[in-house]
C-alpha cells in the first residue's frame, strides 16, 4: 500500500514537476507565439493602416483629379462658348461686309446705269 502511495506520489510529483516544466515551456511557447502573433498583428495593423492611408491618399488624389477634370471641363466649355461667340461675331462681321459689298456693287451698277443712260441722245 505504502509502495503504491509512494509510487503514486512520486508519479504525481514527477507529473507535477514535469507538468510544471511543461507549463513553463508552454508558457514560453505561448509567449513566443503571442509575441510572434502580436508582431504579425502589429504588422497587419500597420499594413492595414498603410493600406488605408494609401487608399485615402488614392481617394484624395482621385478626388483632386476629378476636381481638376471638372475644372478643365468647365474651362473647356467656357473656351468653347467664347470661341463660338467669336465665330458668331466673325460671321456677323462677314455678313455685314458682304451686305456692304453688295450694296456698294448695286450702287456702282446704278451709277453706271445712270451714266450709260445719260450718254444716250
Amino acid at each position: 500500500m505504502k509502495k503504491c502511495l509512494l509510487l503514486v506520489s512520486t508519479m504525481l510529483v514527477l507529473a507535477i514537476a514535469l507538468g510544471g516544466c511543461a507549463t513553463r515551456r508552454d508558457l514560453e511557447e505561448v509567449q513566443a507565439r503571442e509575441k510572434a502573433i502580436s508582431a504579425k498583428a502589429d504588422q497587419a495593423a500597420q499594413d492595414a493602416q498603410d493600406a488605408k492611408a494609401a487608399a485615402d491618399e488614392a481617394v484624395l488624389k482621385a478626388n483632386e483629379a476629378a476636381a481638376r477634370a471638372e475644372e478643365a471641363a468647365k474651362n473647356a466649355e467656357e473656351r468653347e462658348k467664347i470661341a463660338a461667340e467669336k465665330e458668331r461675331i466673325a460671321e456677323e462681321k462677314l455678313r455685314l461686309a458682304e451686305e456692304k459689298l453688295k450694296l456698294a456693287e448695286e450702287k456702282a451698277e446704278l451709277v453706271e446705269a445712270a451714266f450709260k443712260k445719260s450718254m444716250k441722245k
Partner: protein, 449 residues
C-alpha cells in the same frame, strides 16, 4: 432751296507732268532678257502680277501708232498692246480717248480697274491691237461687236487702214448690219429730231425742238456721213465718253477728232459694211491670234460655232497647231484684244509679253478741265457722301457729261460734297441742275454766290 456757300477747303487739281524718258529703241536683246525674266512667272501668276512685275523700258507715247497702219499681205493683226501707269485724276475714259480706244475696250482689258477712280500708280493695259474683221477690206468696215471702225485706203500692197473706236445703237435701237454706202456728207450738221426720240424726251420732261442746230447741244457733233439706209449716219458726238457704249439710236458715233479725219478721207459713195463678229481669228508673222468680245446675246452661240470651225480649218489646212486650252481661256475671258493661240507662240499671259510701257503724257487729250472754285459764282450741290471714292466717282461722271458739267469734290468734316460749277448766272446753274435731274436723276440744290 438755296443757301450760302461757305466752304474753306479748295482742292488744287494739278495734272502731274512726267519727264519723258528718252530711251533707246526696243530691240531683240531687250526682248530676250524680258522673255527670260517673265518665264520665271509663267504658269504661276495672273495677269495683274505679270503687269505689275514687267521691267519694261519707257517710250514716248508718240512712238506707238494708234490709228493708222499698213497691212502686210496675209496679215490680219494690226497694232500692239501697251501698258501705262495711272496718275492722279486719270479716268479710264480719258485714257481711252487719248490712245484711240473706247471705254468698252479699255475696261474689258482691265476688268479689275475702277473706270472713274482708278488707283494712281496702277498699271493698265492699252489694247491698241486689233484683228481685222473677216470681210472684204474695202471702204469702211464696222465691227459692232468690237465697237471699232476700220477705213481701208488704197488697193496696193501694203494696204493702209485707219481705225477708230465707235459708239453704236442700244439693244432697243440696234445699229443694223449689212452693206451700205455714204450718200452725202455734212460739216456742222443740223439734227432733225426723229418723232420717237422727241416723244421720249417730252415724256421725261426734256422737250426737244424739231431741229437742233450745230453747236455744243447737237449730238451729231461737227461732222456727219449719211448712209443710204435712211436715218442712219456716221457722225461725231458731244458726249465723247459714250464712245465704246451702246448708247445711240442706231447711228455710229466717233470721237470728234476721229470723225473729222474719217470725214476728210472718205469720199461720197464709200462702201460701208457693218458686221457683227465677236470672235476674230487672224495671223501675223506666223502666229495665230484670237480676239474675243463679249457677245451681245450670251445665249446665241452661232458666232462661237463659226469661230471654232474656222480654228479647226486653220489647224487642218495650214499646218498650225493650236493651243486649245488657251483658246477656251481666251473665249471665257473675252478681254477684247488679240491673244496668240498657236502652240509654240509667245508663252506670255494674254499677249502681255508683247506689250511696251508708255510714258504717261503730260495731258490727256480731251480730259475735262475743271475751272477754279470761285466764291462769287453759282453752284449746284449734287450730293453729300460719306465715302470719298463714291464722291469722286460721281464728280467724274458729271464732268464727263456732254456737254461737260464741271464738278469737283469738296471735303470737310469727314463728308464729301459733290459740287457742280462754277456757273456765272443762275440760269446756267438752273440748266445744269435740270440736266443732272433728267440725265442722272440727281436732285441738286442751287447754291447762290
Amino acid at each position: 432751296m438755296v443757301f450760302n456757300f461757305s466752304s474753306t477747303n479748295i482742292a488744287a487739281h494739278m495734272t502731274l507732268r512726267r519727264i519723258v524718258d528718252r530711251s533707246p529703241s526696243f530691240n531683240r536683246l531687250h526682248l530676250i532678257v524680258l522673255l527670260i525674266f517673265i518665264l520665271s512667272f509663267h504658269g504661276c501668276t495672273g495677269i495683274r502680277e505679270v503687269i505689275d512685275n514687267l521691267p519694261l523700258q519707257r517710250y514716248q507715247v508718240e512712238m506707238i501708232e494708234k490709228n493708222d497702219f499698213l497691212i502686210e499681205k496675209d496679215d490680219d493683226v494690226i497694232g500692239r498692246v501697251a501698258i501705262i501707269r495711272i496718275e492722279k485724276d486719270d479716268t479710264l475714259p480719258d485714257i481711252a480717248r487719248h490712245f484711240g480706244l473706247g471705254i468698252n475696250t479699255i475696261s474689258a482689258a482691265n476688268p479689275d480697274i475702277d473706270i472713274w477712280v482708278p488707283e494712281a500708280g496702277e498699271r493698265i493695259l492699252l489694247p491698241m491691237s486689233f484683228i481685222l474683221p473677216d470681210t472684204h477690206r474695202e471702204g469702211i468696215v464696222i465691227n459692232l461687236a468690237a465697237m471699232r471702225l476700220f477705213a481701208f485706203y488704197g488697193n496696193g500692197d501694203p494696204l493702209a487702214v485707219s481705225t477708230y473706236p465707235v459708239g453704236i445703237g442700244t439693244a432697243e435701237r440696234p445699229t443694223p448690219t449689212g452693206q451700205m454706202h455714204v450718200t452725202h456728207k455734212k460739216s456742222r450738221p443740223t439734227w432733225y429730231v426723229p418723232a420717237s426720240i422727241a416723244e421720249e424726251h417730252r415724256q421725261k420732261g426734256d422737250p426737244l425742238p424739231p431741229e437742233v442746230p450745230p453747236g455744243p447741244l447737237n449730238p451729231l457733233g461737227e461732222h456727219a456721213l449719211y448712209l443710204n439706209k435712211p436715218a442712219y449716219l456716221i457722225h461725231g458726238t458731244n458726249k465723247p465718253a459714250s464712245i465704246g457704249l451702246r448708247a445711240t439710236n442706231g447711228c455710229i458715233r466717233l470721237y470728234p477728232e476721229d470723225v473729222k479725219r474719217l470725214f476728210e478721207n472718205s469720199p461720197v459713195e464709200s462702201p460701208v459694211n457693218i458686221v457683227y463678229q465677236p470672235y476674230l481669228v487672224g495671223q501675223r508673222d506666223g502666229i495665230v491670234y484670237m480676239e474675243v468680245h463679249k457677245p451681245f446675246d450670251a445665249s446665241d452661240t452661232t458666232e462661237l460655232k463659226k469661230a471654232y470651225t474656222t480654228l479647226r480649218n486653220i489647224e487642218e489646212n495650214s499646218g498650225y497647231t493650236l493651243d486649245w486650252p488657251k483658246v477656251e481661256a481666251v473665249v471665257a475671258e473675252a478681254r477684247g484684244f488679240p491673244v496668240p493661240i498657236s502652240e509654240g507662240s509667245n508663252p506670255g499671259v494674254n499677249g502681255v509679253l508683247e506689250a511696251i510701257e508708255l510714258a504717261h503724257p503730260g495731258n490727256l487729250y480731251g480730259q475735262p478741265e475743271i475751272p477754279e472754285l470761285e466764291t462769287d459764282a453759282w453752284y449746284v450741290l449734287a450730293a453729300i457722301l460719306d465715302d470719298k471714292v463714291d464722291a469722286k466717282r460721281l464728280a467724274a461722271i458729271i464732268n464727263h457729261q456732254g456737254p461737260q458739267i464741271p464738278a469737283r469734290v469738296v471735303s470737310r468734316g469727314g463728308r464729301h460734297r459733290v459740287l457742280a460749277g462754277p456757273f456765272n448766272t443762275r440760269s446756267a446753274a438752273d440748266d445744269a441742275a435740270k440736266r443732272l435731274r433728267i440725265d442722272l436723276e440727281i436732285d441738286g440744290l442751287l447754291i447762290e454766290p
